[in-house]
C-alpha cells in the first residue's frame, strides 16, 4: 500500500513537470510583451527595457525555463510580473477562497445529486424518475454564467432572500486571516455575525457552481443504482426477507458507490479549476479570478503557478479517490 502511494506520488511529479512545460511553452508563444502589459500605455521605452532585464524577460526562452525550474526545485514559484509580489504568497491568499467555495459546491452536489439519483432509480420510469432526468439534463446543459446571473437576479435582487456578490457583507470587515476560509476564521475570531453572513454568501455561488456536478451525479447515481438493483444478489437479499431500506443502503448503495466516487473525484478537480466564471460573476476572490486577471495581463509566472497548483490539487484528489476504493471495496488491493 505504502509503496503504491509512493509510486503514485513519483508519477505525479512527472505529470506536474509536464504541466509546467506545457504551460511555459503556451504562455511564451503569445505574441505580446508582458512588460508593455505590466507598465501600460504611457510607459517609456527605457522603463520597458529596465522591466525586461529586471524580470529576466530579455533572456532566451530555454534559459528562462531553466531558471524557472531551478527556482521551482527550491520551492520558489517566482515573482508576479504585474504585482511584483511572490506567487506562492499570492496563491496562499487566493486558494482558500476557491477551496471554501468548492467544498460547499461538492456538499450541495452530494445532497442534491445522491438522493435524487437514488430516488429516480427506486421509482424507475415514474414521476420522480422523470423529474430527476429533466434535472440532470437541464442542469448539465445550462451555462454556469447564465445560471449565476439568473440566480443573483431572482434570489438576491428580486426576492432579497440571499446576499449578492462577495464573501461577506460589504459593510462589515472580514475576520483576521488564519486559515483563509472566512467561515473558519470567523469562528476562530468568535464572530458569529460574520460567520452567519459568510455562510449565507456561500449559498448562491455554491449552488451555481455545484449545479452541473449535481446533475452529473444524479445521472451517475441513477444508472449505477439501476444496474445494481437489477443484480441477482439484490433479488436474493430481498427474497431472504431483508427489509427494503437495509437492502438499498447496505447492499445496493455500497456497490454503486465506486462509479459515483469516481465521478465525484473528477468533479472536485474540475470544480476547483472551473470556478473562473462563477468567481467573476460573484466577485469571489479565488484562484479563478487570480488566473483570469493574470492571464489578461500576460503575467506568465502567475498563470504557471495557478496551473501547477490546479494540477497538484487534481492529482491529489484522484489519488485520494483511488485510496478510498480500497476501503469501500475489499476486493480491490494495490499490493
Amino acid at each position: 500500500m505504502l509503496i503504491y502511494i509512493l509510486r503514485r506520488l513519483a508519477l505525479m511529479l512527472f505529470v506536474l513537470w509536464g504541466v509546467t512545460l506545457a504551460a511555459f511553452v503556451i504562455s511564451h508563444v503569445v505574441p505580446a510583451d508582458p512588460a508593455a502589459a505590466a507598465l501600460g500605455n504611457n510607459a517609456r521605452e527605457q522603463q520597458l527595457q529596465d522591466f525586461r532585464v529586471r524580470n529576466g524577460l530579455d533572456k532566451p526562452m530555454v534559459v528562462q525555463y531553466a531558471v524557472y525550474m531551478e527556482r521551482l526545485a527550491q520551492g520558489d514559484l517566482g515573482t508576479s510580473l504585474r504585482t511584483q509580489s511572490g506567487i506562492a504568497a499570492d496563491l496562499r491568499q487566493f486558494f482558500p477562497a476557491t477551496l471554501e467555495l468548492t467544498l460547499v459546491a461538492v456538499v450541495f452536489a452530494l445532497i442534491i445529486g445522491l438522493p435524487l439519483g437514488m430516488l429516480a432509480a427506486l421509482r424507475h420510469n415514474r414521476p420522480p424518475d422523470l423529474l430527476a432526468r429533466i434535472f440532470a439534463l437541464v442542469g448539465g446543459a445550462t451555462p454556469v454564467y447564465w445560471l449565476a446571473i439568473l440566480a443573483l437576479n431572482i434570489f438576491h435582487e428580486r426576492l432579497g432572500w440571499l446576499p449578492g456578490p462577495g464573501r461577506i457583507d460589504a459593510y462589515s470587515l472580514a475576520p483576521p486571516v488564519h486559515s483563509g476560509l472566512v467561515t473558519v476564521d470567523a469562528l476562530l475570531a468568535h464572530d458569529g455575525e460574520v460567520f452567519v453572513d459568510a455562510l449565507r454568501h456561500l449559498i448562491l455561488p455554491g449552488l451555481v457552481l455545484g449545479a452541473f456536478s449535481a446533475a452529473l451525479l444524479t445521472r451517475m447515481t441513477r444508472s449505477a443504482m439501476l444496474e445494481v438493483l437489477g443484480q441477482d444478489y439484490i433479488r436474493t437479499a430481498r427474497s431472504k426477507g431483508l427489509n427494503g431500506q437495509r437492502v438499498i443502503w447496505k447492499h445496493a448503495l455500497r456497490n454503486a458507490a465506486l462509479p459515483i466516487l469516481t465521478v465525484l473525484g473528477s468533479l472536485f478537480g474540475s470544480l476547483l479549476t472551473g470556478a473562473v466564471l462563477t468567481e467573476t460573476i460573484f466577485s469571489w476572490p479565488g484562484i479563478g479570478s487570480y488566473a483570469t486577471s493574470s492571464a489578461v495581463s500576460l503575467d506568465f509566472p502567475a498563470v504557471m503557478g495557478v496551473t501547477l497548483v490546479a494540477g497538484l490539487a487534481y492529482s491529489l484528489v484522484n489519488l485520494l479517490v483511488d485510496l478510498l476504493y480500497v476501503t469501500l471495496d475489499p476486493r480491490i488491493s494495490f499490493s
Binding site: 510583451d33 502589459a37 501600460g40 456578490p165 462577495g166 469562528l187 464572530d191 476572490p285 500576460l298
Partner: protein, 537 residues
C-alpha cells in the same frame, strides 16, 4: 458591532457550531447596530483589479492613485472638479523664482501631523522625492524626465521650507501640476525607514500599509476582495461623517447594478452606457457624468508606402467618421465631440470641430489622393471595454461601417490589450483604435507624446514626423508665460487637426452611479475623489 457570541472563548466548538447553526436558521442580523455602521460607511463597488500597490511613490494605476490620494497629502492639489488651478495642500504657500540655471519653487509647509502622530516636516518631503527618484518606479520619470530633478534637487533649509531647484529644460508650472499626482505624496520618513528591507525605502511594507497625513488611513487591503480605509482623526482635511470607506472589487457592471439596487453598495464605479441610461430615470439613484481627460482615437500609421502617408487620406478618414452617431447611439451621450489633441478642461485645449461628417468630401479627398476606389487596411482593436464603457468591438464595427461608406475597407483584428500595445509600440499598427490619457493634468501631457516624434511616443508609433509640430510642442512645454503658452497650443492643435495621424473619436465621460443618499461625491477628470467631502443622509 454587536456580536452574537461573547468573546470569552469559553464556548466549546461543537456547542458553538450548534448555536451558530441555530442563528443561521434564524437568518436575522441585529439590524440597529448594522444600521448605524451603514450610516458612517461608504461602500464603492467597482473594477479595482488594476490595484497593485498602495505605495504612493510606486503606484501609477487609476485605483492606486484614487486611494493614495486619500491616504497621503501632496504639497499642492486640486479641489473638487476645478483642475485649472493648483491649490495649497501640505504647502500653505509657494513662490516661483527664476534662477541663473532655471527656476526655483519655494514651498512653505503648514503645520500637519501624520497618522503615526509625527509632525510633517520638510525632511519628509525631501525623503519622499528622493525616494521616488532612487526607486525608479513606474512614475519616477515624472520627476526625473519631466521635472528634470535629481537626488539633491530638493532641499530643506528649515523644517517648514522646501526648495525645488529646476533646470531650464523643465517648466515650473508643469512641475506643480505633476506634484498633485500621487508621485508627490508625502510619506512619514521615520516610519518608512523603520520598515525598510534591502534598500527598498519601505516599499514592500507600504504596499499594504499607509504612513501619510491624508484624511484616511489604510485599515486593510484584502487583495481582489476589498480595500478598507478608516478616517484619520489627526488629518487636517477631516472627513465630515464617513468613518470608513470600503472599495469592493466587483468586476462586472451587472454585479454592480444588482448591488446598488439592493443597497449593498453606495456607489458603482463602472456602468455600461445602457445601464447608465436606465439609472438616469431612477429617482433612487444619482447618475453622474464625470469628466475625464481621456481621448478615444484612431491612429493612422503614416509610414512611407502606407495609404495614410498622404495627408489627404488622413483628412478623408476624419470626414468619414460619424462622431455624432458614435456619441449619441453607442455612448448614449457619455462622450464629448472633440477633434483636437488637447482634452477639454485643460488650459490649451481647442474646441474647434472643423471636420463635419461628410462622406462625399471624404470620397473626393481619397480620389484626389489617387485612391478613388478606396483601399484595404488592417484595423487593430482591443477586446473588452473601451473608453466610456462601450465594448471595443461595437465601436470598431461602427468605425468600420463609416469607413466602408467611403471605400476604406477596414479589416478588424481583435486582440488583447497587451498584444495590441506591443504591436502599436513596434510601429506595426496600420490603423488602430485606442485611447490616451495624459500623465498629469497639463496640456503637455498630450502635446509632447502626440505631436513630437522625438518623444518616441504616439507620433513615433504612428510613424509621423513633423518638424514644426515637434518644435511647437517643445516650446509650449517650457513656456512659462501662460498666455504665450496657450497661444502656442492653439497653433499646435490647429496644425495637428489638419496634418496629424489621428482621428479623435470622442472624449468620454466616466459614468458613475451613486445612491441618492450619497452627498458630495465628486470625481474629477483625473479620476480623484476626495472621500472626506462625502456624507450620507
Amino acid at each position: 458591532m454587536k456580536r452574537l457570541i461573547p468573546a470569552s472563548g469559553s464556548v466549546r466548538p461543537s456547542r458553538l457550531a450548534g448555536r451558530l447553526l441555530a442563528a443561521a436558521l434564524a437568518l436575522s442580523l441585529p439590524m440597529a447596530a448594522a444600521e448605524s455602521a451603514r450610516q458612517s460607511t461608504l461602500v464603492i463597488g467597482g473594477d479595482f483589479s488594476d490595484l497593485i500597490t498602495l505605495d504612493p511613490g510606486v503606484s501609477y494605476e487609476f485605483t492606486g492613485s484614487l486611494i493614495t490620494g486619500n491616504l497621503y497629502d501632496t504639497l499642492v492639489g486640486f479641489e473638487g472638479n476645478d483642475l485649472s488651478k493648483v491649490r495649497p495642500r501640505l504647502a500653505s504657500s509657494w513662490k516661483v523664482t527664476p534662477t541663473a540655471t532655471g527656476s526655483q519653487i519655494t514651498f512653505t509647509l503648514r503645520p500637519a501631523t501624520f497618522s503615526t502622530g509625527r509632525p510633517v516636516t520638510s525632511a519628509d518631503v525631501v525623503y519622499s522625492m528622493n525616494r521616488v527618484i532612487s526607486l525608479k518606479t513606474p512614475s519616477s520619470f515624472l520627476l526625473t524626465d519631466v521635472a528634470n530633478l535629481k537626488v539633491g534637487s530638493v532641499t530643506a533649509p528649515n523644517p517648514t521650507t522646501v526648495v525645488f531647484n529646476i533646470p531650464k529644460t523643465a517648466n515650473p508650472n508643469i512641475v506643480l501640476a505633476l506634484l498633485t499626482f500621487n508621485v508627490g505624496g508625502i510619506i512619514d520618513s521615520t516610519e518608512a525607514k523603520a520598515h525598510e528591507q534591502n534598500g527598498d525605502f519601505g516599499s514592500a511594507w507600504l504596499r499594504d500599509h499607509s504612513a501619510g497625513s491624508g484624511p484616511f488611513v489604510l485599515n486593510r487591503w484584502d487583495r481582489s476582495a476589498q480595500v478598507a480605509l478608516d478616517a484619520n482623526p489627526k488629518a487636517f482635511r477631516r472627513s465630515i461623517n464617513i468613518k470608513r470607506v470600503i472599495l469592493r472589487y466587483m468586476l462586472e457592471s451587472s454585479a454592480q447594478q444588482t448591488a446598488l439596487n439592493s443597497g449593498e453598495i453606495d456607489v458603482a464605479w463602472d456602468y455600461t452606457p445602457d445601464a447608465f441610461k436606465a439609472a438616469q430615470s431612477n429617482p433612487k439613484l444619482k447618475a453622474l457624468k464625470t469628466s475625464t481627460f481621456q481621448m478615444a482615437y484612431l491612429g493612422m500609421n503614416s509610414a512611407k508606402g502606407s495609404p495614410f502617408e498622404d495627408p489627404r487620406v488622413r483628412e478623408a478618414v476624419r470626414y468619414a467618421i460619424d462622431q455624432d452617431g458614435i456619441i449619441k447611439s453607442l455612448l448614449q451621450g457619455l462622450g464629448r465631440k472633440v477633434q483636437t489633441i488637447i482634452p477639454l478642461g485643460l488650459a490649451g485645449s481647442n474646441t474647434a470641430t472643423p471636420y463635419a461628417y461628410d462622406p462625399a468630401k471624404a470620397k473626393a479627398l481619397l480620389a484626389a489622393a489617387g485612391k478613388p476606389n478606396g483601399f484595404d487596411v488592417d484595423f487593430l482593436v482591443s477586446t473588452g471595454s473601451c473608453s466610456g464603457g462601450v465594448p471595443c468591438q461595437d465601436l470598431a464595427a461602427k468605425v468600420q461601417s463609416d469607413l466602408a461608406k467611403v471605400g476604406i475597407r477596414a479589416n478588424i483584428k481583435q486582440m488583447v490589450n497587451a498584444e495590441l500595445l506591443t504591436t502599436y509600440r513596434a510601429q506595426k499598427a496600420p490603423l488602430i483604435q485606442v485611447a490616451w490619457s495624459p500623465d498629469y493634468p497639463d496640456a503637455d501631457g498630450n502635446g509632447t507624446p502626440l505631436a513630437d516624434y522625438n518623444a518616441h511616443s504616439l507620433a513615433w508609433r504612428n510613424s509621423w514626423n513633423n518638424a514644426q509640430a515637434s518644435k511647437l510642442a517643445q516650446s509650449a512645454a517650457v513656456e512659462v508665460d501662460q498666455s504665450k503658452r496657450v497661444a502656442l497650443y492653439k497653433q499646435l492643435t490647429e496644425l495637428m487637426v489638419k496634418e496629424g495621424p489621428y482621428a479623435i473619436l470622442y472624449q468620454p465621460y466616466k459614468p458613475v452611479v451613486a445612491s441618492a443618499s450619497v452627498l458630495g461625491f465628486v470625481r474629477n477628470a483625473n479620476g480623484d475623489v476626495q472621500f472626506e467631502k462625502i456624507s450620507k443622509k
